[in-house]
Every structure is written in structure tokens, then in C-alpha cells.
């Protein structure tokens, strides 16, 4: 089995902050906007180094999305920063009309996505954002899994023409991807080859999937682990090649099963290669206050849930 080592737990949002800092140095047209969450989004170094290219919008996310759309006219590449909830649901119509339908090159960077936001509770824990964003024609949707990948994604989207939704999180999590894993928008990553079951994971669930695979291996189950960071456009090939070999799939994400990665994959498989499928995702519910670990356990979003879904899908093969 391929070994993945936690190089030191860190938060994905810090990966965004570091990526943005690098872009500040390398990309003179990159500008950043924030709705009163500079510290949370780790934008301070970019701001210190490029004060003229930073726009503090205040608690006015709708205006932020409109200003970002306008900044593209003249060639700027705006990166907006706020929590995922306020990056999507609060401003859906502004994104839809002024950014997506208008084809504007805006990078919507969203931290504190999902239930691992923790103690603030359900008002802030959005579990519907992937669904909303993937429904928008022309929107690229990325959910990065660790510090390194979030940084790589931040750098990659600056050179990609078109609107992007980049989703990442709050807590410190294992940092395990390496430069050899690479990062290409729209390309899944085969993390662990296996033959019995395909596990496709995104975001914080990728590390959980790798941990689950170790336990499953000890039980004699060889799981193939694929990381899909780009939910739209979906890398169909890597998933189809895998399920043709394994004959069953478990998808894992920190999102409602309605509208998430699992739904996209189920739709794609039903059209191309119907496959028994289990979902590790929230079950059409809101979250609540608690520590990230407690919430992941209670809402079935950790390695134990992945293992139990694998066991159940193996029976349906």
C-alpha cells in the first residue's frame, strides 16, 4: 500500500492564504476582496504586500460579488474571500447574473465550508454550497482536501479563465498530499490503487478515506482511493476506469448527499456504467454546534462511516 504521511496538521484556509500571497508576487492582475473576515481567510500577508490591490468590502457580500464582477472589466482577476455560507447562498443571484451568466473571471474563495466549522453551528455550516455552485452553467467547482492542495488550487485557478468556486475549511487537518500528486483542474488523483471497491472522496473526507483504506486492507479489502478535487467539470474517465475494475463505489464528502459530489457521480454512472453506490454525506439535514470531530462522528463523515458503507456495498456487488 502507498503510504501517506501527515506532514503536520494545518488548515486548508492557510493554504489559500499562502497561495494568495504567492499570487500577489507573481500575478500583478490578481486582486483580493474580503467581507470582514481577513483573519479567517488568512489574507493579511497579501494585504500587507499589496495594499492597493485589496478591497475591504465590509459585511456586504452582495456588493462584494458585484464589485468583483466589475473589477474583471479592465483585466483584473478578483479573488473574493468569506465563509462558504456567505459566498454562496447569501449571494446566489449576484453570482448567477453578474458573474456566471456574465462570464466573469471571478474566483469565489470560500472558507469554513461544511460541518467542521464546528461550534458556530448550523447558521454558518453550509452543506448545500457545492450543489448551488455546480448548478450554475460555466462554474468550475473545486473542493480541496488539505493545506498543500488548497495552495495548489489557489495558484491554478489564477491561470484558469472563467468563474471558479473554491471551497475549503476551517479546522487543522492532516496535510498529506505531495507535489507528485500534482494538481490539474478537472483531473482526479488516484491516491491508492485497489481492486475491490472504489472510494471517491473530496475535501476533508480524503484523509478519512485513506485511513479507512488502511483498516480495510488489514481486513483483506483492497480499496481504490480517488481524490476528486474538481467536482465540476467531473473527471469521468478516472471514475469509470475504476468502477469497471471494482464493480462498486462509495463517495465521501462533507456536504448534503443531495447536490454533492456523490450525486454528480451517481448521475454520471447511471448514464455510462450503472454501479452499486453508497454515500458518505449528510442526510438532508442541518448541522449543529460541537467540535469538528464530534460532528464528523455524529453526522457519519469519518473513516468509520466510510468503512461501514464499504462493507454494505460489497454485499451488493
Amino acid at each position: 500500500m502507498k503510504e501517506y504521511i501527515n506532514q503536520g496538521s494545518n488548515d486548508t484556509r492557510s493554504g489559500f492564504g499562502e497561495g494568495l500571497t504567492e499570487l500577489g508576487r507573481s500575478h500583478p492582475n490578481v486582486v483580493a476582496l474580503c467581507a470582514d473576515l481577513i483573519g479567517s481567510l488568512k489574507m493579511q500577508t497579501f494585504i500587507d504586500e499589496n495594499p492597493e490591490r485589496f478591497f475591504q468590502i465590509g459585511i456586504a457580500e452582495a456588493n462584494m460579488m458585484g464589485i468583483a464582477a466589475g473589477l474583471t472589466i479592465g483585466g483584473k482577476i478578483p479573488f473574493t474571500g468569506t465563509f462558504a455560507n456567505f459566498s454562496t447562498g447569501r449571494v446566489y443571484d449576484q453570482i448567477r447574473q453578474s458573474i456566471a451568466y456574465s462570464g466573469k473571471n471571478v474566483k469565489i474563495c470560500a472558507s469554513h465550508a461544511g460541518i467542521t466549522l464546528g461550534e458556530d453551528g448550523a447558521t454558518h455550516q453550509i452543506l448545500e454550497d457545492i450543489g448551488m455552485m455546480k448548478m450554475l452553467p460555466g462554474m468550475t467547482v473545486i473542493n480541496s482536501c488539505d493545506f498543500n492542495q488548497t495552495k495548489a488550487a489557489t495558484l491554478a485557478i489564477a491561470d484558469f479563465e472563467g468563474p471558479v468556486y473554491l471551497r475549503f475549511g476551517r479546522p487543522k487537518v492532516a496535510n498529506f498530499t505531495t507535489p507528485e500528486n500534482g494538481f490539474e483542474i478537472g483531473k482526479g488523483i488516484l491516491l491508492q490503487p485497489g481492486s475491490d471497491v472504489t472510494i471517491v472522496a473530496t475535501g476533508h473526507l480524503v484523509w478519512e478515506a485513506l485511513e479507512a483504506a488502511k483498516d480495510l486492507n488489514r481486513m483483506g479489502v483492497k480499496a481504490e482511493i480517488i481524490n476528486i478535487h474538481t467536482i465540476k467539470p467531473l473527471d469521468k474517465k478516472i471514475i469509470l476506469n475504476s468502477v469497471k475494475k471494482t464493480g462498486c463505489i462509495v463517495t465521501a464528502e462533507e456536504h448534503n448527499f443531495i447536490g454533492g459530489l456523490g450525486e454528480s457521480i451517481a448521475g454520471m454512472l447511471s448514464r455510462n456504467h450503472p454501479t452499486p453506490h453508497e454515500f458518505v454525506a449528510t442526510d438532508d439535514c442541518f448541522g449543529e454546534s460541537g467540535t469538528p470531530a464530534q460532528l464528523m462522528e455524529k453526522y457519519g463523515l469519518n473513516k468509520n462511516s466510510i468503512k461501514s458503507k464499504v462493507k454494505s456495498i460489497l454485499k451488493k456487488k
Binding site: F55, I57, N63, G66, L71, G74, S98, Y101
Partner: protein, 281 residues
């Protein structure tokens, strides 16, 4: 094409275009379009420095954004009469496979449009972004935006007003079409805007008021005053009183023609009141 024609004759032709466009498809918004015809003519044929060899980035030229996208007929006719696209394309307004969608969009690649609008209250934010982009690019030109009065009921406008004043966005002129009417009746009855001038001033804007918003001379005059106020760390607003349906006797003094097209007989009357000057499309 336009040389040797007075602004008045261009205005008359654009009114005809608006009326014929909405009549043909029996839909669209003639009232607000007619009320703002003089403003569009003044802006595009007198005030703005702009290039109808359209580039999205609009560097080194003035930019215009239409926030109340439903008055697309006057926008389309103005752009076509300026030379952004062939005048005969006005014939495709609201038809399938047209670049002239019901509400303006960049999506079909119509030259002259820089953002989609229709869902109200978004244009001022976009215009602020474009104005900030100009500042970053050391581009000294001006960004104009037109908004309806009814759409001031959308909260995003007030976020944008606060931002522009708080951040010295002083290369921006926002004009508010104060026709006092919206779909369900007068703005006073639907949701009173209160004293718009006081509100804008309280938000930190330099406010100019124009009572004769259907006078070409007065519009040009006030736009020049507005331009002279730029660069003073304050955004500039023009509160422009217009008459919805202006230039067509039976469409004035009512909100009935906000989103209703004339029938054949009504069209004939309306056209008889507005001379063909540049040739109908």
C-alpha cells in the same frame, strides 16, 4: 451615419426604434425606455468617450452600465445607432437565437454590453468594480451607471452606496431615473423611497438634481457639472426626474406602459408623434 443629425433627430429615431421593437414581439418595456431616451442620446452621442469597436476591458474609454436592464430597448437602439452592431439587428429583439435578449447580457456576445442586468439592484456594485479597476490601471476615464428608482428598494444598492462613498470612488457618476413609477404603481404607493436626495447625501455622495430629465440640453449640462465634480474623493449622483413614456402622448403620466407593448393602432399614433429621421431599421 450620425453626423449632420441633431441630437433631437437621433432621439426621435430611437423612440421609433423602441416602439417598433416592443410592438413586433408584443412584449418588453417601452415606458422606462422612452423616459430615458434623452439621457442615452446625451450620454452616447455627446458626453462619453467610447469606441464602438467594442472591447470588453474598455481601457482608455468611458464605460456605461445599465442596472435596470428591462429598459433594454433604448440601450439596444442607442448602441446600434452608434454603430456597435447593425441597426437591422434590432429586428431580432426578444426573438429566439437573438443577441438582443429581453434583458441585456454578455452571454450572446452583443457588442456594447459588459454585464448582464435584469435582476435589479446589481449594476451599481459592478460599476464600482469597473471604476476601481480603472483606478488600478491609471485609466482616467469615467464610469457611468443608470439605475431605476424602483430598484433602490433592493438592499444591495445601499451596500454599494456606502462602499463608494467610504472608499472615495470618485470616477463614477450614477444617474437615478426618478420617474416615480414601478410595475405595481407609484413608488410612493409601492414602497416609499422617502427623500432620495437626503438619503444619498447622508450616505456621503455628491448629489445633483435634474428636474428636466427629458431635456437634452439640461441633461448635457448636468452631466458636465457631474464630470467637473469627479476626482474630489466623492462619488457623484444625478437624481434625474423623467416622464415615463415620454414622447408618446398616451404613454405619459401613467405606469401602465412599464411593461406593455402598443397594439397596431396605438403604434401608428405613437409613430406619428415621432418622426423618422435616420431611417427605420
Amino acid at each position: 451615419m450620425i453626423e449632420n443629425h441633431s441630437l433631437e433627430s437621433i432621439t426621435s429615431q430611437i423612440r421609433r426604434d423602441i416602439l417598433r421593437m416592443v410592438h413586433k414581439v408584443n412584449s418588453g418595456h417601452p415606458g422606462g425606455s422612452l423616459g430615458c431616451t434623452e439621457f442615452f442620446v446625451a450620454l452616447y452621442f455627446e458626453i462619453m468617450k467610447h469606441d464602438c469597436a467594442f472591447s470588453m476591458n474598455g481601457k482608455n474609454e468611458d464605460l456605461f452600465f445599465l442596472s435596470n436592464g428591462h429598459i433594454s430597448p433604448v440601450f439596444y437602439s442607442t448602441l446600434a445607432r452608434c454603430g456597435y452592431f447593425p441597426v437591422k439587428e434590432l429586428n431580432t429583439f426578444r426573438l429566439i437565437n437573438s443577441r438582443l435578449q429581453g434583458h441585456p447580457t454578455t452571454h450572446e456576445g452583443l457588442p456594447g454590453i459588459r454585464v448582464a442586468s435584469g435582476s435589479l439592484g446589481q449594476g451599481l456594485s459592478v460599476a464600482i468594480g469597473a471604476a476601481l479597476s480603472k483606478k488600478l490601471n491609471n485609466d482616467p476615464n469615467t464610469v457611468y451607471v443608470l439605475m431605476g428608482d424602483g430598484e433602490l428598494q433592493e438592499g444591495q444598492n445601499w451596500e454599494a452606496l456606502m462602499y463608494a462613498a467610504g472608499n472615495d470612488v470618485d470616477n463614477l457618476i450614477a444617474t437615478i431615473d426618478l420617474n416615480g413609477k414601478q410595475i405595481d404603481g407609484s413608488t410612493e404607493d409601492v414602497l416609499s423611497l422617502g427623500d432620495v436626495s437626503d438619503k444619498f447625501e447622508a450616505f456621503g455622495w455628491d448629489v445633483l438634481e435634474l428636474k428636466e430629465g427629458n431635456s437634452l440640453v439640461r441633461i448635457i449640462e448636468i452631466l458636465n457639472v457631474a464630470k467637473s465634480k469627479l476626482g474630489n474623493k466623492k462619488p457623484v449622483a444625478i437624481l434625474m426626474k423623467t416622464e415615463m413614456g415620454n414622447g408618446v402622448s398616451f404613454m405619459m403620466h401613467t405606469h401602465a406602459w412599464h411593461g406593455k407593448a402598443p397594439n397596431d393602432e396605438q403604434l401608428a399614433i405613437a409613430l406619428s408623434e415621432n418622426k423618422e429621421t435616420l431611417g427605420d431599421y
